[in-house]
């Protein structure tokens, strides 16, 4: 991701900032211009709680350069408590500990590193709750 784009999207990546439809209350992440449920264009910003359940996952063993420090890692579909299903990475878990349906919570981790000189990109990942 280039620097201007990652900068623009920082509150999505850090805070799970999406939006909610003012007519039907459907929650969207990432934010949308038109509600997929009722076609309304009247949406307000909405910050997700960061709690969810694991819907599905896949383990990545081969990754491009900026991700290779994290291999193997788990790419997952997580159902957020407020509705949307999002694509994310799991962390603090090894492939043999993963169970479909397990509760997960948002944390902020390194997403990628552009070599030794470049930008470190931070953003949300999900992990099993600590307590």
């Amino acid at each position: 991701m280039d620097i201007p784009r990652s900068w623009r999207l920082r509150n999505q990546r850090y805070l799970l900032e999406g939006n909610a439809c003012t007519s039907c209350d459907k929650k969207h992440f990432p934010p949308v211009l038109v509600c997929s449920e009722c076609k309304s264009r009247d949406l307000r910003p909405f910050t997700f709680s960061g709690k969810g359940k694991l819907y599905s996952y896949s383990t990545v063993y081969q990754a491009p350069g900026q991700f290779e420090a994290f291999v193997p890692y788990i790419v997952a579909l997580v159902d957020l408590e407020e509705g949307p299903r999002i694509t994310t990475q799991l962390t603090d878990i090894s492939p043999d500990e993963v169970r479909i349906g397990m509760p997960v919570e948002k944390v902020i981790r390194k997403i990628s590193e552009e070599g030794e000189r470049g930008l470190i990109l931070y953003g949300y990942k999900f992990r099993p709750p600590v307590d």
């Binding site: 850090y14 944390v107 390194k110």
Partner: protein, 354 residues
């Protein structure tokens, strides 16, 4: 002459949070590799905490500060300082504190700065936050103490250099879980341990790190603070000292007249190692987790270079209500997964494949 410090407005800790990564490297793994296991009887700690490959001082600071916010139940937008003390900031130029402030919803109406003072960078940030809130410039100030310490492979420091830390939100005494009674800082030019720019690993003065550095500075900060406040070790329910290993904090406690029972709760080094700037503040969160209203608590850091900050806090009855809003320090200490030296070497970039 009064030497201890206290701001004109009464202030205290209104929220606190801990973070320790989940991985542990047993000291026996290091001894196996570098000493043929010969040192096993006299290892300085049992194991050390180790960050995962996607963790650094910034991500760990965000989680500890998030826990402090959960406990304080303060609107992030009311926080006027994000001051992060560490000797392992991921960038040389680009403040860790800016990323922490954005990620927690504190930005943009805040000050942000990275503090550096070896292992006392975090308590230095706490001193500043107490002054910032105590002067009325800020209603709430956030101070963070966090490190992902690195030791040169095979060096004595490799056994202990660990990762973890804590965050504190300072605010008005009426909302505090622990009210500041007074603090004191003691600083000299003592080159016991240092790392030059662009060097990955620090240099240390072996025996020089003990008496003239650790023991001299902590003894002075703590005894001057106690004398000034008219207190003796018996007045404290718990005390936390900087813990580069298991031995030093036990020895300095006994020299100052504290019992092993008084330092037990906050002594985490044996099971997680030396978390550098995070060490004494993290121990202090374990003490707050267990504290009762009315308890008087001592926190004393040490940073090479050298200096020590000492604080006396009195716990209020608000502690019971906020404790369970975030994971306890022991939740983090106990969620542990052992890794071997090879995994550690890869994650900590001691080896690479190109």
């Amino acid at each position: 002459m009064k030497m201890s410090m206290k701001p004109s407005l009464p202030v205290g800790i209104v929220g606190y949070g801990a973070y320790v990564p989940r991985y542990r490297l047993p000291a026996t793994e290091i001894a196996r590799l570098w000493r043929g296991g010969q040192d096993n009887a006299k290892l300085p700690v049992k194991q050390k905490s180790l960050p995962g490959p996607d963790e650094d001082t910034i991500t760990m600071s965000i989680e500890a500060a998030h826990n402090a916010l959960k406990r304080a139940e303060v609107d992030p937008a009311l926080i006027r300082s994000v001051w992060a003390g560490s000797e392992s900031h991921p960038y040389a130029v680009k403040p860790s504190s800016t990323i922490v402030a954005q990620a927690l919803g504190i930005a943009p109406h805040t000050t942000a700065a990275d503090f550096e003072f070896a292992c006392k960078a975090g308590t230095e940030a706490m001193q500043a936050a107490l002054g910032f809130a105590g002067s009325g410039m800020a209603q709430y100030a956030l101070a963070i103490a966090m490190d992902t310490a690195q030791g040169r492979p095979g060096d004595a420091l490799e056994y202990t250099a660990a990762a973890g830390g804590a965050a504190f939100i300072v605010g008005p005494a009426k909302d505090a879980v622990a009210i500041l009674e007074g603090s004191f800082s003691y600083t000299t030019d003592t080159p016991d341990f240092f790392r030059r720019s662009y060097q990955k690993y620090p240099e240390h003065g072996n025996r020089f790190t003990g008496e003239p550095a650790y023991f001299h500075h902590i003894s002075n900060s703590v005894s001057i603070l106690m004398e000034d406040l008219g207190l003796t070790p018996k007045d404290f329910a718990s005390a936390v000292f900087h813990q580069p290993n298991t031995k030093f904090p036990k020895k300095v406690a006994s020299q100052l007249g504290f019992t092993s029972a008084q330092i037990h709760t906050g002594l985490l080094a044996p099971v997680i190692g030396n978390t550098y700037a995070g060490a004494s503040p993290l121990g202090f969160t374990a003490v707050l987790d267990a504290a009762k209203p009315g308890d008087r608590l001592l926190l004393a850091s040490f940073g090479s270079g050298a200096g020590s900050d000492a604080f006396s806090f009195v716990v209020t009855d608000k502690i019971e209500g906020i404790r369970d809003r975030a994971p306890s320090t022991s939740d983090y200490v106990e969620r542990s997964v052992e890794v071997d030296y090879a995994t550690y070497a890869r994650w900590r970039k001691k080896i690479r494949h190109h």
